[in-house]
């Protein structure tokens, strides 16, 4: 398996896309460290599923909005594993408000979890990547497209993408590759936080040339690829995984549904 013997930390790795990334990397042979925010039971369950694939799985609770919790998490990783090969900055949070409704608390919270934590985790992770490594940042199309009540998250993801480019250059001499994935809306529970209209998922399908919404495995397949040696010449890039949705203009309806494909792992 491509990632046999590697040690991977997935922030926010217990549920949603994070869970899918954790299990994908485990299926590729990586030992996984699952950072979670509040729900220990959910994290334990993800770890148990990962272990069933024959790898080591460890969970660490840490609120990434707090730098001291990030420090504590990496000290635990250093003590337990002594090194790190892969970091997936996946944890994200946000406040679903328009720009005019955003207060500074909501702004700080979102920026701290989605952008600052990625920087702080990378700084600590890089010191543990003594033989090089891979960092994958999970962004979203909201970094460049305007989506309703997505201001804070969209801006934080734009920061994350800029950070990806700076880190890719700065960490290249250390043999650390840094890239990001910007997915279109992925069919997970989190999507419901931003869509009150039950018809929206159908609109998303209609305006996506691939003929369906992005599924978690569409993202995890790209994460696994970026973690592999096959991606060694890809640096500082933002890989868009959206079934072509961002290429179309508003109201565009793809002809027929010839493009419809199902996700496969």
């Amino acid at each position: 398996m491509a990632l046999n013997g590697k040690v991977a930390l997935i922030t926010g790795g217990s549920r949603g896309i994070g869970r899918a990334i954790t299990l994908k990397l485990a299926s590729e042979g990586a030992d996984v460290i699952i950072n979670f925010f509040r729900k220990r039971g959910t994290a334990e369950s993800t770890a148990e599923t990962a272990r069933s694939q024959g790898v080591t799985a460890h969970i660490i609770k840490a609120n990434l909005a707090e730098p001291e919790k990030i420090d504590r998490m990496f000290t635990e990783i250093e003590n337990m594993f002594g090194r790190l090969d892969i970091l997936v900055n996946n944890a994200a949070s946000g406040v679903a408000r328009t720009a005019m409704e955003l207060d500074f608390d909501a702004w700080d919270w979102t920026m701290n979890v989605n952008a600052r934590a990625a920087l702080l985790c990378t700084q600590r992770a890089a010191r543990l990547m003594r033989n090089g490594g891979v960092i994958v940042n999970i962004s979203s199309l909201g970094s460049r497209l305007v989506m309703p009540i997505y201001t804070a998250v969209g801006v934080s993801k734009a920061a994350l993408e800029a950070l990806t480019r700076y880190l890719a250059i700065e960490l290249a001499p250390l043999g650390i590759r840094v890239n990001a994935i910007a997915a279109g809306p992925v069919e997970t529970e989190a999507l419901k936080l931003y869509t009150t209209d039950p018809g929206i998922p159908q609109q998303m399908v209609t305006s996506t040339p691939a003929g369906r919404m992005v599924q978690p495995e569409d993202v995890t397949n790209v994460v696994a690829f970026l973690c592999s040696d096959a991606a060694s010449m890809i640096r500082g890039q933002i890989i868009i995984v959206d079934g072509g949705a961002s290429l179309t203009s508003l109201g565009y309806t793809p002809p027929g549904d010839k493009g419809a494909q199902s996700a496969s792992t």
Partner: protein
């Protein structure tokens, strides 16, 4: 946390810090929204309470709690549950 510090006092201090308000006083039927808390404030209060008391609060059970008195009673029950283990 000092054993002499009541759960209510500790929760009040957490709420004062997160809501940046000094004049927080819990009455039997007050809610955090009475002090201007929004959903983000409430998440931050929950996280701080969990960290401070080293407990895990269940979101399903929290949905059935309507006021700060119920919240404090729930925290006390989780602390007692932890101490039994």
């Amino acid at each position: 946390m000092s054993v002499n510090t009541s759960v209510e006092e500790t929760v009040k201090k957490i709420a004062q810090r997160i809501l940046r308000k000094k004049d927080i006083a819990f009455a039997p039927t007050t809610t955090f929204k009475d002090f201007g808390a929004d959903s983000l404030d409430i998440v931050q209060i929950l996280v701080a309470v969990e960290d401070t008391f080293d407990i895990e609060l269940d979101d399903e059970q929290l949905r059935n709690i309507n006021d700060t008195a119920g919240f404090i009673a729930y925290i006390e029950s989780k602390i007692a549950e932890k101490n039994k283990k």
